[in-house]
Subunit: 201 residues, 4 copies
């Protein structure tokens, strides 16, 4: 677990360096068995270390660590419950996921198709795959958001990530490394699609 | 205070690395009680250290340090007077704040609305917030600019930042960390809006 | 050889830092005489070290090292056979090569002309050169892809690189340094052309 | 002089990190009295150290150092002769200077006006300044290019830089620090203008 925790913190710091978690935004967690470690609320992700993580159980009860859980902790728990194999969850706010989630909110998903990088997503073996990333309208009512997320995860059993409109991306994986691979693949494809739309090509 | 000073210098170096203070542009200050420390004129912000700061009082009188104050020191003083809780001020020239301040100069403000990242601004609890960032026409008459800034701050008591047209952004916070959080949130949103306008989406 | 191996790994890490090999994508190899060292499948290129390389022979047989060869190892072998002077091969997935290879797939090539940076390509002495970078349609049938690549290399004896559509770039050089020079020149020009098309100028 | 040399090499490495001298492109020099130190041909600027510089005299004769002078050494000499106060010259190939020099070649100059960052150029005291950056058509005939550059420098006595079309920027200053300040100001403004044209705003 200690190695996963270090990897999670390094991933958070790397996301900050890329501008994906500005202004203390974003949150990151890792799970092993019943233990979940998650970033406390309001931290500068560019300086994240293991001491900045809270330990919680699957009901969200804080077991250890300093600080208080962020309101989005609920969403991590929904994902862990619905995706038993998920061992890590990454939530980031990038310029391109913000733009695309706003642009396609009314359609309900961003479709990524025909790109080799889709093979960066677990279980995807061909660029002919279509990845539909569901989009949920943003809200500050976190209980209702958690409910909506649960429904979206169940309706989209194959999805590797979910977008909140003009807000950010949630993605996950069996390990921190796999979650980061999904994050890098999805963000790359969001940038490609965003630039393609901009260029009109 | 020493910790705030170190944090201010690290923030300045970070801004240089992101291309937000090219060509010795930008200036940065921190206040504690009656003491104000501010970057001297004409420094390369990529190498800023505590020795590069001048100590001044609220009237702008230099109390200590090497170098001379920049002409924009006056604007820092106006902000400190009008915002008693401000403990740090950051002024940067980014590509996107330059573009948007020029584009919207005639309207008098850039409106940012509907983005989760607005919650990076102190006191903002929902993405439904509209942040109007006032824009002042640029001028080299610093006394008249200081007067205009004073008026704009008083008319926009809730604003977290002010733009000078085709020039740059002033933002502040109770601490360096909060000022940097405001800076990162505003610059992220300027980039999103700039790219959205470019894409026509 | 040891120096070339270190240079190859440093190049891979540099490509990761630039976002050109996200999500464990890309692969890199170096050849000296009959020895070929190539990245094993599925590695994070941001952490690549010499221990992550497989030794193979020109038929693709694994001689040493840990891990398994990636499916694209075949394409490296085709290039080494057809370009006897190639001592290193770099394969990257950048946003701009993904965009341009998709945009121009139906024409069969991206044409780069009139740029001084073309002189970064071996044997090119003037900006008046036209570099046609052939584009092959992407497929997961690696045997047929290898056949197509062989044909394309033979028909384009002067080419310094080959694109796979919406997938990535293969480029090579007599040494790692030359291959990296070709990579930097081609990616720079892809970005210039991509931005030029976007701007409509 | 030793400090200027170290500063020049650090500047070159910084330019590489920003993608402004890809594929061994660009060249850099510093002058003190009759001594000129200039980068030898074909070097990777990301690794530049003092040992990579040639010492030449004002006629271009090599006095010391390893390697051979690049063909563009002539252009440095023309600038040093025509601008007696120039103590350092930087030549870079950026994406935005490549795009703008191509776009405005037929007009003969890029005009930069109304931006605060213009004050990063020596002697410019107001954003109301108009900086006309002359553009010379690119050619591989370096003797004729040197002649043209000489004419352009004489006709544009106030210019802080000169563009070669689809090739790159030459800029200079009394010291390496001033030359770098000019470089950062001009490249920032090229990016702003390039993005402004792209956005159509």
């Amino acid at each position: 677990m200690q190695r996963e925790i270090e990897e999670l913190c390094a991933t958070a710091r790397g996301c900050y360096a890329r501008g994906w978690v500005p202004a203390t935004s974003g949150n990151f967690s890792v799970r092993s068995g019943d233990r979940i470690l998650i970033t406390a609320s309001g931290l500068d992700k560019g300086k994240l270390t293991a001491e900045d993580l809270l330990e919680i159980d699957i009901s969200g009860e804080v077991i250890g660590g300093k600080g208080r859980p962020s309101a989005e902790t609920k969403l991590h728990l929904v994902i862990y419950r619905d995706r038993p194999n998920a061992g890590a969850i990454l939530h980031v706010h990038s310029v391109w996921n913000t733009l695309l989630s706003g642009k396609f909110e009314s359609e309900g998903f961003v479709a990524l198709r025909g790109y080799e990088l889709l093979k960066g997503l677990a279980g995807v073996a061909t660029h002919e795959h279509v990845e539909s990333v569901p989009i949920i309208a943003n809200t500050q009512e976190h209980a209702s958001l958690a409910e909506k997320l649960k429904g979206v995860l169940q309706e989209n059993g194959e999805a590797h990530g979910v977008l909140l409109s003009r807000h950010g991306l949630y993605t996950w994986g069996k390990s921190v490394a796999e979650a980061r691979r999904h994050l890098e693949a999805l963000e790359f494809l969001f940038e490609v699609e965003g630039r393609r739309l901009t260029a009109g090509i």
